[in-house]
């Protein structure tokens, strides 16, 4: 199973800190899962110009192809101006319309305050549904006060991340099985 984690912003550290913890939790619990973390701050990604994802080169091509090859994506994002950062929206725009078909996508969201709690519900899930994702319904929402100097200080957040990791893997395995059984029924 291939899982890609994305830290969807190029500024700040909270999403990255939370995603690093997520990957660590994944490695500990599921050592056989192949996890790649893509921190957008470390890449030079161009804006989408409408081409097929296979045709991008360099960092952009690496990111689009890595996401498309994954069985599941754990998407980490901060909330900017009551929405997602442009850098993450660009990732969606670089991918084909049905990019998440047969993929599980789960969400981890960091924000300055609890006022943004429904942003993933209202702004990210519709995009994921449009792009045909199997969405892990429960997301992890982390506030600024849960961090201190690049560490998660709220134990409950750690528990929630561990449950997100588990839900992502369980749903991916289950979905794969359902899909295989269904495909076998077609007999072609």
């Amino acid at each position: 199973m291939k899982i890609v984690g994305i830290a969807g912003s190029i500024v700040g550290s909270k999403t990255k800190t939370a995603m690093e913890y997520t990957v660590k939790a994944m490695n500990e619990k599921y050592p056989n899962v192949d996890v790649t973390l893509i921190d957008l701050a470390e890449y030079n990604v161009q804006f989408s110009d409408g081409r097929n994802y296979l045709e991008y080169e360099g960092d952009t091509g690496y990111i689009t192809k890595t996401i498309m090859e994954a069985d599941a994506v754990i998407m980490g994002t901060p909330v900017f101006q009551a929405s997602i950062p442009a850098t993450l929206k660009n990732i969606f725009d670089l991918l084909p319309q049905n990019a998440f078909r047969d993929k599980v996508v789960s969400l981890l969201v960091t924000a300055g305050s609890a006022k943004h709690y429904l942003i993933p519900e209202q702004q990210i899930k519709p995009i994921l549904a449009y792009m045909k994702a199997q969405i892990v319904q429960t997301y992890v929402f982390i506030e600024e006060k849960d961090f201190n100097r690049k560490e998660i200080t709220n134990e409950d957040v750690k528990f929630r991340i561990e449950r997100l990791v588990e839900d992502t893997v369980v749903l991916t395995e289950t979905y794969k099985k359902i899909q295989e059984e269904k495909d076998a029924e077609y007999d072609f």
Binding site: D49, G50, R51, N52, Y53, L54, E55, M68, P96, N98, A99, R101, D102, K182, D183, Y186, D187, F188
Partner: protein, 352 residues
């Protein structure tokens, strides 16, 4: 319709198109050489002609897994190898070529084929060719619109005065040779969405509409938008031909057809587009209302007649060879078209 060499009394025209893809056969993992593939395509056109098929076209794609980058050269070989069948591109990416050179090439092919050649001009669904041929993809729309307009002008006028943004002006330019009858049919390739169809309608040019899957009724909206746009600019839609083009595969039973075709489509699309074709969608392809013509010959006849009733189009074009399809299967399909499908289509659509 005469201008486009279409005789309504003869009923719905039946054509075949190839993208010129050069993919491994997913069942064996083997891929024939580019040389073999090109000869296969020429042979395919000859077989189509022998089966009584009306039209054969070859596409232009500049990327891995394709063999007909120089599609006009392949078409000229087909022009020489055949006698009656109409031939065309499907499509020529006019955006990244000089319309003058394209017109010279196709007018020459028209003379070699003695008046059987047409051009289908499109915008490219994959854009790697912009870099390869030295164009900026940011001008995707404008390059196409400007060059397509020029191509149409070259077809209408023997002495051309023209200026635009992406090419040096033409002053009293003569573009030679002229096609056999002075001009030739030029179609606009449309990907199935109404936006591009409307532009074809505004320009009053025939529409070549390609489609993957889905209900015919959805594509009817595109057809209606096209005709409405043409009417709004003073063109008579009854004089503008429409062609539809998509996946086709006939076998003894629909289950056998799905079985024979699916791996080629699924694996081929993974390589060329980066995503396969979901079985769930593919299975719906045999439904009468689905635009994919997959099934037994009798089912396909019913589908094509239903589509004809829905669209009132003048030409249907089948894509059979995608994804490393073995040539024997292609031959069997051409035979089924010639012996069973085509006679039935003509019987029901021709006016006596």
């Amino acid at each position: 319709m005469e201008k486009y060499r279409i005789d309504k009394n003869k009923g719905l025209e039946f054509g075949i198109y190839t993208l010129g893809d050069h993919l491994p056969n997913p069942l064996t993992g083997e891929r024939i050489s580019a040389e073999e593939r090109i000869h296969e395509i020429i042979e395919y056109a000859k077989l189509a002609e022998q089966a009584g098929i009306d039209f054969f076209s070859v596409g232009e794609s500049h990327q891995d897994y394709f063999a007909t980058q120089a599609h006009s050269v392949v078409l000229s070989a087909i022009a020489q190898a055949t006698e009656k069948i109409k031939i065309a591109s499907s499509s020529t990416i006019i955006s990244t070529s000089d319309p003058v050179r394209v017109y010279e090439d196709f007018a020459t092919i028209d003379l070699i084929s003695k008046g059987r050649t047409e051009i289908v001009a499109g915008r490219a669904s994959r854009i790697g060719l912009f870099d390869l041929l030295g164009y900026d993809v940011r001008n995707y729309e404008e390059l196409f619109e400007e060059k397509f307009d020029l191509l149409l002008k070259l077809n209408e006028e023997e002495i051309v005065n023209w200026s635009g943004e992406f090419r040096k002006p033409l002053r009293n330019a003569k573009v030679l040779p002229r096609p056999q009858s002075g001009s030739m049919p030029i179609w606009r390739a449309v990907g199935g969405s109404p936006g591009s169809a409307i532009k074809a309608g505004y320009a009053g040019v025939p529409m070549f509409m390609a489609h993957l899957g889905g209900p015919a009724s959805v594509f009817k909206r595109t057809v209606d938008s096209y005709r409405e746009a043409a009417r709004s600019k003073g063109f008579d839609p009854a004089e503008l031909p429409i062609a539809t083009a998509g996946f086709f595969y006939a076998a003894e039973t629909s289950q056998q057809a799905l079985k024979d075709l699916y791996p080629h489509i699924n694996e081929g699309m993974k390589r060329t587009n980066g995503q396969g074709f979901p079985k769930q969608h593919f299975a719906q392809g045999v439904d009468k209302h689905n635009i994919m013509n997959i099934g037994s010959p009798q089912q396909i006849i019913e589908k094509i007649l239903y589509q004809h009733e829905t669209f009132g189009h003048q030409r249907y074009i089948a894509q059979i060879d995608f994804g490393g399809m073995p040539f024997d299967n292609i031959k069997r399909n051409v035979e089924l078209i010639g012996t069973e499908i085509l006679p039935a289509i003509k019987k029901y659509t021709a006016k006596n």
